[in-house]
Amino acid sequence: MIEGSGRTGGGKSGHPGTAFYIEALLLAGVFTIVVLILTRVFVMSGQMGKDAALLTNAVHLAENGAEAVASSRSLEEVRRLLEENGNGEILESSKAEAAGEAYEGASGENRARILRVHYDEELNPDAEGGIWMDIQWIEPDSGEEGLVKSIINIYRTDRPDPVYTLETEVFISEKGGQL
């Protein structure tokens, strides 16, 4: 029998032995792992909560963008409706391409024009804001009349992909009506 290997040291002293220390260390290790897992779960849930708030904001911005598109006959009119405090700019085709962004179906000059409107984290208009909405205005191939397609993307500085994307179309007639 190995002396001192029991929980009480194998003697009559009542003092903890090696096994007790090892068990205590193992328990502490397991406890630490559990705490780390819980912490990670909490951090993830906190991040998901922030993502939900961001998504709510993005959906709301896109709704406003779609409303502006539905009320306009050109990208300039959309800009007039959305721009506040100089937070909007229209990116021409070359600038849009230079920005390295993929705009599907952007073959002609008009089709690559994009309105970019910046906002701060509270969604207040801010020319230097970290959240922005890109509105692509895709005119029909056949003349002035027809369905104008608009792709609305919401971006945030720290995310390479759009937070939210909305596609909408509005019929524009030559006589000035919209549906």
Partner: protein, 157 residues
């Protein structure tokens, strides 16, 4: 070899303290996370109530001339007529709250009997042209265009 009872007691105490501290910190961190999530959810709901509700109300009653902007005591009032009944939903700010009541379109407001939509210290309505309006509240801004005019133009075509 005789063990030192004092040092083993300290060891046990240290282990127990580590357990308790870890447990306490985990609980505190979890509670703070929950509080943040609950606050975010509450904020999202408030935002939806204030902004989406307004555009939904307009959409539901978007007929020719149904939506107008009036003023009462220097505060803007969004008046949304209920068909041709002569009555309307009136949405306005009262005591830092956005409220809604139902009454005669041109009649007096009843803020004491109004339904609270949400809290806001700011409520502005801006006409942007093209029958498009922007409403600004503490929760942000909502844009809506009236479709009724577009339908008339299309019908004329």
């Amino acid at each position: 070899m005789k063990r030192d009872g004092g040092s083993s007691g300290v060891y046990t105490m240290v282990i127990a303290v580590i357990f308790l501290a870890g447990f306490f910190l985990t609980v505190v961190f979890g509670a703070l996370t929950y509080r943040d999530i609950a606050a975010g959810q509450s904020g999202n709901n408030e935002k939806r109530a204030l902004l989406s509700y307004l555009s939904t109300c307009v959409r539901m009653n978007d007929t020719t001339g149904a939506v107008s902007v009036a003023e009462a005591d220097g505060e803007p009032v969004l008046v949304i007529a209920d068909g041709q009944s002569g009555y309307a939903l009136r949405i306005y700010r009262y005591e830092d709250k956005l409220v809604e009541d139902y009454g005669e379109a041109q009649g007096a407001l009843y803020p004491d009997m109004a339904q609270v939509i949400g809290e806001t210290k700011e409520f502005r309505i801006e006409a942007l042209g093209n029958d498009t309006y922007r409403i600004i509240t503490d929760a942000g801004r909502v844009l809506f265009g009236l479709r009724s005019r577009s339908e008339e133009v299309a019908a004329d075509d």
